[in-house]
């Protein structure tokens, strides 16, 4: 997909089949994009007798260059479900499920003209951050509210919240035990999480990589959610905890400008109770919510150690694990102190 000599012709041939009504299709521009570590990205400008379009192609890297392994078919189905539910995403247009036509399994999406949220936040004031924080709560609640029966059948349905959370906590320990060296911080995190489970909530769709760099802001303030490759059915508070976790490294932390107000807004839109969603629960999910990504990144590091992966991004992403360990240890200590203080009171 990053072969700039071949791809314009491949894409034109692909579109000629997908859009038989388009005449004189020409790919006038095709360039590699940066912006994500896990998948190949390219931007293409396509002109034909009936009009012009700008697309983003999002495909799998070669097997030995894959930072994480996810399913493009599932991502395609989730994107279509989000579009049908009215959640703002980059509109999914076409899919090459075999990779025969585009060189790798790839989605073709409309190019999103909105502004990347991270630089937008960097150039605006705290007052504007508060406005975006409210929109963030609404955006998360919008896809968390979609009835599970409207989601793709290929998404696994956990049997109960207890089983699901038990499995998520177990994922920390399993990740540690499966690694090429012992990781006692992960074992500590697993034991701590198990000892401090929050109240249950209904399981919903979760994005799985809900962070500022996967959000764009349209001129009317609406947030567009990108990169659904880690979507699954889980505890919706995982997304908010995950957002908070990533924001510690790449702020501002929109959930923490006024954590009580953020939680109240999310509760209002999601129907959760205060016991189910409050700043302490969000901090619990700051830890639990990252386990899926942690597992994938650590598995990548193990594959690199075994000589099965040579991607630079795999090595670089291990810095997130280093930072994460610091954050998890700090969060468990702060929450323990808060719980102890609450008990004394």
């Amino acid at each position: 997909m990053h072969n700039l000599d071949e791809m314009p012709a491949r894409l034109a041939a692909f579109l000629a089949i997908e859009e038989p009504g388009w005449r004189d299709i020409e790919v006038t521009s095709y360039e590699v994009m940066t912006g994500g570590y896990s998948r190949l990205l390219a931007k293409a400008v396509v002109r034909h007798a009936e009009g012009e379009h700008v697309f983003v192609l999002r495909g799998d890297p070669p097997a030995d260059k894959q930072l994480i392994h996810t399913d493009r078919q599932l991502e395609w189905e989730v994107l279509r479900a989000m579009q049908a539910a009215g959640v703002r995403v980059s509109t999914p247009r076409y899919f090459d499920p075999s990779g025969d036509r585009l060189g790798t399994k790839a989605l073709v999406l409309d190019f999103c003209e909105a502004t990347s949220l991270l630089p937008y936040l960097a150039g605006t004031t705290e007052h504007e951050h508060r406005v975006v924080a409210e929109e963030l709560a609404a955006t998360a609640a919008a896809f968390h509210r979609i009835p599970v029966e409207q989601l793709p059948a290929s998404l696994a349905r956990p049997t109960s919240w207890d089983d699901y959370i038990g499995a998520r906590i177990g994922e920390w320990k399993a990740t540690a035990l499966a690694h090429v060296e012992s990781l006692p911080v992960l074992r500590f995190v697993a034991a701590w999480l198990d000892a401090h489970r929050p109240p249950a909530v209904p399981l919903t769709l979760i994005h799985g990589d809900f962070q500022t760099t996967n959000l764009m802001r349209e001129s009317d303030g609406t947030l567009v959610v990108l990169d659904w490759e880690l979507a699954q059915i889980g505890d919706p508070r995982e997304d908010l905890g995950y957002f908070k976790a990533i924001a510690q490294a790449a702020g501002p932390d929109l959930t923490g400008i006024d954590a009580d107000a953020f939680c109240a807004r999310y509760r209002e839109l999601s129907g959760m109770t205060e016991a189910q969603m409050n700043p302490a629960v969000m901090a619990y999910f700051l830890i639990l919510g990252v386990v899926g990504t942690v597992r994938q990144l650590i598995e990548g590091g193990a594959a690199f150690s075994r000589g099965e992966n040579s991607a630079l991004g795999t090595l670089f992403s291990l810095t997130n694990i280093q930072y994460g360990q610091m954050m998890w240890l700090q969060a468990t200590r702060q929450l323990d102190q808060a719980f102890a203080a609450a008990q004394e009171a």
């Binding site: 590699v32 940066t34 912006g35 034991a191 670089f316 280093q322």
Partner: protein
């Protein structure tokens, strides 16, 4: 063996040249992002080259002081691969001790073990330096 400049100094020198000469000559895009990642990783490698064997030794001793002797963590060789094997054995003993402390509801014991993990993490932070989300957003 030429021991000076040290490995740390050499790696920092390479980073300086990447930043001063290579990165400015590249257009924005994947190659520039790759060089930014490489410089971050090389800085971490410099810290590891300077300290990792000593840090692992110190940690093994501290873990044994807390959880008791770990025979598989003993040895004389200072070759990195051998030290890593011993460090793994000590780390596994620490992880098992954490599980046991939580299973027993032994808060003071949990605190002792948590402090070992925090000391380990302080080294990780020195290796990581400043976290930059290169190429994102």
């Amino acid at each position: 063996m030429l021991s000076r400049p040290t490995t740390e100094q050499m790696l920092r020198g390479i980073v300086a040249d990447l930043n001063a000469t290579v990165a400015p000559a590249l257009p924005d895009g994947p190659a520039k992002v790759a060089v930014a990642m490489m410089t971050q990783l090389l800085l971490g490698c410099a810290v590891r080259a300077a300290h990792e064997i000593a840090w692992m030794h110190d940690e093994i001793a501290a873990i044994e002081a807390a959880v008791g002797a770990v025979p598989a963590a003993h040895g004389e060789s200072l070759h990195l691969d051998d030290v890593v094997v011993r460090y793994h054995a000590a780390s596994a003993a620490l992880a098992d001790a954490v599980d046991a402390a939580y299973a027993a509801g032994d808060g003071p014991r949990v605190e002792v073990l948590r402090q070992l993990l925090e000391a380990r993490n302080a080294h990780e932070m020195e290796i990581m330096g400043v976290l930059e989300l290169v190429g994102r957003g």
